[in-house]
Amino acid sequence: MKMDLLTSLYVFMLAGFIGFEVIRKISPLLHTPLMSLTNALDAIAVVGAIILTGEHRSTLATILGTLAIIAATSNVVGGFLITDRMLKMFKASGPKK
């Protein structure tokens, strides 16, 4: 248990550093789609909600879990959808049509 905790803290720290390095390099041009993309990725919390709901350990847990799945899934679907719609619009000035 103690080792698990320590490993988790290491994982958190390393992911934080990776996040900083990767995201610093993203141009301000794409900051809006970046925010909607990270939002969709963050909705991976849905996996926690799925297990909570499926284990059916108490009625309360199942109700809260189901609501949590709804909220997170709407972020997954909506987040990826709008990010892609935005990115589709970004075009370079190419040769004239």
């Binding site: 996040g19 990767v22 789609p33 996996v47 909506g78 709008i82």
Partner: protein, 465 residues
Amino acid sequence: MTNWLATDTFIEIIYLVATALFILSLIWMRSPTTARRGVRAGELGMALAIGGTLLHHGIVEYRWILIGLVLGSIIGVPLGMVHMTAVPQRTALSHAFGAFCVTLVGTAEFYLRAPAVPRFMMAVLSMEVILGALTFTGSLMAAGKLQEVLPQRPITYKGQNVVNLSLLAVAIGVAGYLVHDSSHVHLFPVMLIIPLVFGVLMIIPIGGADMPTVISLLNSYAGLSAAAMGFVLDSKLLIIAGALDGASGFILSVNMSKAMNRSFTNVLFGAFGQEQITSAAAEAARPVHSATAEEAAAILSAANKVIIVPGYGMAVAQAQHKVRELYDSLSKRGVDVKFAIHPVAGRMPGHMNVLLAEADIPYDKLLDMDEVNGDFPQTDVALVIGANDVTNPAARNDASSPIYGMPILDVDKARTVMVIKRGMSPGFAGIDNPLYYLDKTLMLFGDAKSFVGGLVRELSGGGQN
């Protein structure tokens, strides 16, 4: 179901692949040419992770999971199809949904484990619930303000920060007590409700111009609460996704606060909405030069280099498509047209870029502040559309100005400055803009959309003869 499929190791490997795809997804977001591949990678990672989770051996009941997934998708599709002008409020709303999910799971986990919750577990659980709850109501408030169903005007009162910070301190105190002794199960609702109230109070003093910072900060909180949930559930995938989201929101908040010249602690403690500055400087009607669309079009068509500076006013007037027509007709005459985007122009980071990209303006013409500021001295015309404070030279040279020190677009260094504005009322922050009284500045009074439309007509009509 076959047992070998449902083993934890198999699921963990799927999570590992999903994590790699998430990181790749962000790496590909660096450039508009690879960004859509980034979305695909993210989608694939998500699909794998959800699919893998459904194999989890602990799951005994699939009905509610399926109902949740289906209902969530039904809600998600319209949220993904909103109009581009509604993106800021949609983003705020999705922060609220993410935080809602995290808070609910945290609450359920507490009641499943109580009354004997190990100390570390209780500590991360408290973090998850406190951050999740305040992000939930805070984001709902932000979305309401952006959608204009709530008053956008900041509401401030004496001792606001003291009240807010004390509330937060009480919540943290309760959390500390529960960490010490988790058998006081009845205290948990207190720890849940206080941050919910705090989230509302935190956003009340926020005005529209502060929204880019606030949305970024809420983004960061949402990520951190998800990472805390990862600790509770011992899910590395969730810890990593939460840390990435938290880092992203954090970087954007820092960018935004720098662009508004706010100290970072000012942002961290949520003390936005500085004292309202009433423009005490009596409006001693100083003379300005104004021009008609015809005169402005003549100057524009004679220019070699034009930089357009869009602001929130352009978004409000829905003028981006007219601006595109102006861009076209000037480009056709051989005028070099670029756009200068201030980091806090609009209501969220990158807001202007999305609107202009939607109007089909090539992204390589959209330059951010650092790229473009050196160009203004060689620019014939700087055309400001619906931006104000981000062009205010007082930020550079008037130490008594409330926005002194804020990085601005050096519009005043261009040979001629044109400002499309409804009237002479001061900008959002109530600060007078000396730019408007310069000899080289022409004020173009009118609605952004119709005035730009007028410019386009003049350019395509009587221009050449």
